[in-house]
């Protein structure tokens, strides 16, 4: 029986401020943490012996994993030193050949089916910006070299971080990173086969979550659990959780997923590619499109929310606008330019008539009346 190890210990610091209270693998996309899609892909391939390595904000991850139907085993990586160190934490649970997967990337079942047939193999994919990944040099289907996050990438083929290993791998874990172990294996004459992935997607930067969200929303199933007024217009696939109230004359065009205990409308418009978490309040005459709104967010009336990610517990007053545009921004150690509306961390509060324009706003930021917010704002700042 094949086993699987899912790595969910890393923070995913490039996704800050969204990783304040949870690791990257636990960030909700289409209202489900990313790791759940990975677990789904394994279960569809009848791989049920799953070990999850947790570390950063482990309590959050453990609480969530305990509630899943899937019987996952949890191990803890005390300090986040690297992927190989994380794998070492799972060593006592591994007795068979196993798959190693990052818990914070989407992977589909077909890709897992391809690699589970192999021993000592790696799933690879083509990516337009390979420099964010480990670039893989392949000859005749076998990995020759892995170059981590190179300046000028020789190919567009990158490692997905998904591998098929035998327990022998543990004797090659000399450093804290998996690619080093692979290099050591290659050097000692092992052939690592490169298998092309069928569908794989990573979210490196917060705005990547929006693409992942629209991809995941294609897979949702319609279900109406709450109280939907008879005058509500619905089109496409719409999911509404239990306890949610959708007020009169609201228009929802799927794919849209809405969590539990929300209060939406009357006269609210929710356009495609929107995910709305639990206990969210969208007041009347508010328009939402192409956005992720996490749990406990309140958006005041007459707001227009487009291409935005709102962290948990944001309270935004009436006439809030997010305005999609692109400008240069320094994220981590890189300067990037990407078109999106707004990324708000947890617990952001904004007074009426705030405009968010292509900005990343830290956790707990407070914004005074009538401001236009652009660029990067650090945690807990007051914008007056």
């Amino acid at each position: 029986m094949m086993q699987a190890v899912i790595l969910a210990a890393g923070e995913g610091s490039r996704l800050r401020p969204l990783t304040r209270s949870k690791p990257k693998a636990m960030i909700p996309v289409a209202n489900r943490p990313i790791i759940e899609y990975v677990i789904d892909a394994l279960l569809e391939n009848a791989i049920r012996d799953i070990v999850v390595v947790v570390g950063y904000r482990k309590e959050h991850a453990i609480r969530y994993l305990n509630k899943l139907d899937a019987p996952v085993q949890v191990v803890v990586q005390e300090r986040q030193l690297g992927t190989a160190d994380a794998l070492r934490a799972a060593r006592s649970e591994i007795t068979e050949d196993f798959l190693l997967l990052p818990g914070d990337n989407y992977i589909n079942a077909e890709s897992v089916a391809r690699i589970k047939k192999e021993r000592n193999a790696m799933l690879v994919a083509e990516h337009p910006s390979p420099s964010d990944f480990g670039v893989v040099v392949i000859r005749e289907g076998v990995v020759r070299d892995i170059i981590e996050k190179p300046e000028g990438a020789p190919t567009f083929t990158v490692s997905t971080g998904i591998y098929s290993f035998t327990p022998d791998i543990f004797s090659y874990l000399h450093t804290n990173e998996i690619p080093d172990a692979l290099s050591a294996m290659i050097a000692s004459g092992h052939a690592i086969r490169a298998i092309p992935a069928d569908d794989w997607q990573d979210a490196i930067y917060p705005w990547d979550l929006l693409k992942l969200n629209s991809r995941m929303l294609k897979g949702i199933h319609p279900e109406i659990g709450g109280m939907v007024d008879a005058s509500v217009t619905r089109r496409g696939v719409v999911r509404i959780g239990t306890g949610t109230t959708i007020g009169p004359n609201t228009v929802i065009y799927g794919p849209v997923t809405i969590g539990c205990d929300c209060n939406i409308g009357p006269n609210t418009v929710i356009m495609p590619d929107s995910s709305i978490g639990d206990r969210v309040v969208l007041e009347p005459f508010t328009y939402v499109a192409d956005s992720i709104i996490m749990d406990d967010v309140t958006v005041g009336s007459h707001s227009r929310i487009v291409s935005a990610v709102f962290g948990q517990g944001c309270i935004l007053a009436d006439h809030t606008t997010t305005y999609a545009s692109a400008s240069f921004m320094e994220v981590g150690d890189r300067v990037l330019k990407e078109e999106f509306g707004a990324i708000l961390g947890d617990g952001v509060r904004a007074a009426p008539f705030t405009t968010f324009k292509n900005c990343i706003v830290g956790n707990g930021v407070t914004i005074g009346e009538g401001k236009t917010v652009t660029g990067l704002i650090e945690d807990s700042v007051r914008v007056i």
Partner: protein, 579 residues
Amino acid sequence: MCGIVGYIGRRDATPVLISGLKRLEYRGYDSFGIATVGSALEIYKRTGSISDGEAGAAGLQGSIGIGHTRWAGYGEPTVINAHPQIDCEGKIAIVHNGVIENYSDLKRELEERGHVFRSETDTEAIAHLIEEHYDGDLLAAVNATLSHLQGSYALLVIMEDTERIIAARNASPIVLGVGDSEFFAASDLTPLLDYTERVIYLDDGDVADITPDRLDIYNEGEKVERPVELVNWCVEDTRKGGFDHYMLKEIFEQPQSFYETIRAGVDEGVRRMLMDAGEITLVACGTSYHTTLVFKYLAESLCNIPIRIEMGSEFKYFTGPLRGLVIAVSQSGETTDTIAALNMAKARNCPTLAITNVQGSTLTRVADRTLLMRAGPEIGVAATKSYTAQLAALIQIINLRCEGMFNDILSHAHLAIGDVLLYDVKDAVALCSRADHAFFIGRGPFYPVAMEGALKMKEISYVHAEGYAAGELKHGPFALLTPETPVIAICAPGSTYNVMVSNVKEVKARRAPVIALGVEGDTELPEIADIFIPIPDTHLLVQVLTASVVLQLLAYHTACALGRDVDRPRNLAKSVTVE
């Protein structure tokens, strides 16, 4: 304060009993034992924890059995005193939770008639009485025995060559689980959740005759029907998952249990009862007592209603004049003293309300109405999520009396609780784990919060801790301050802030180290305190919660640093079901 389990059906009884006892370990963990009926009556008992001793039980045969985990009341925790207890012939085995008050009389009479007692337990007398009354019918023998017993009991009886379990209840809890051609019995729901969601709560005086295919319940000799109820707790909540301790898991469940309790709201009958109340008396013990004190401070100022708080164990013997609504608060709903107090209130024609976490518990049966807190099963002996859920229920009452003034604050309070869970308190832990004594001080509603913080600290870390109203520290305890006695001071903004700051300075002047809790953005406290722990700058109602959670984390991590058995602190049991 013991836990009992029983099983009858087609499965091998031993694993069912062992897993059930593990779930009940919080009720007592001095010793445990099980008995099964297969080809013969077999018994296995030992001292210490179930996990350490379960292997030895594996050999027991049979698909009928009873088990017991003990918190020693009568007699030391030894193998002989562990349950099941048996009769002279070793044919009848019983497990018992409760106290038999006329035990010494019974024992003397039984010994005169030639019965040989092996243990020091009150329970053994029951076994001998059943033996004496046995005349081919176990049910009749148990019925005849019960008429001699004074005190409280939840009892399970099995006998060699007999395919039935007799269960009896008086003032100690017992729940039956209904399966397919099988039945389960336990002190509370948690052992049943693995197997069934259909349960029957027995009433006082009930005797149940259980065979694999049939359940008959009698009360005073008459056959009675008890409804089958569906349980809404799920079994995941009783598992530790990947957490090191139940307590830590439950600390992290607090945003949810708080929110769920607020969301569940108050039904119309309870609402009317609360709105009509001209004055309120609350009765509680332990941690619940602290939540009622917090309520008193908050409700008297916010809703202008006189509130009286009584300690359950005192109230029973020293009862003042009672008027108005009486509310009993108990997580388990089985706290003997609180139940007794509520019964007295009923006897005086006061309307009564129970606030408890356990649907179907004794308290809910005694009280006129129940306000259920939604904490889910709490396994850790130190109350954490039940404390916040109790506060949620009580704050809900305040909100109700204030006509929903705090709706917005309450609907976001769970986020603030979630925020403080992210705090790193290791500096404060380092200080506390070096100390033999610690003082917790606060004013107003933060005084009971300080008391609760001290209770948590002493019960799980064994660091001697006391909670004081900050002004009282100078009236005596000041003599104990040294550089080795940390003082944990809660300094929330408001009318008491300035005086708290001067209290902290006085403490510092005696060179005692100070850990100060204050709101984020406070610039003064970090200057004067050795360690400053910020809590979110929110409404007073929420600060009470967040400060409490910080103190839970402090106690938990201090206990871990000292290597204590956090989920099973020495000498304690979760629900205090004896006086």
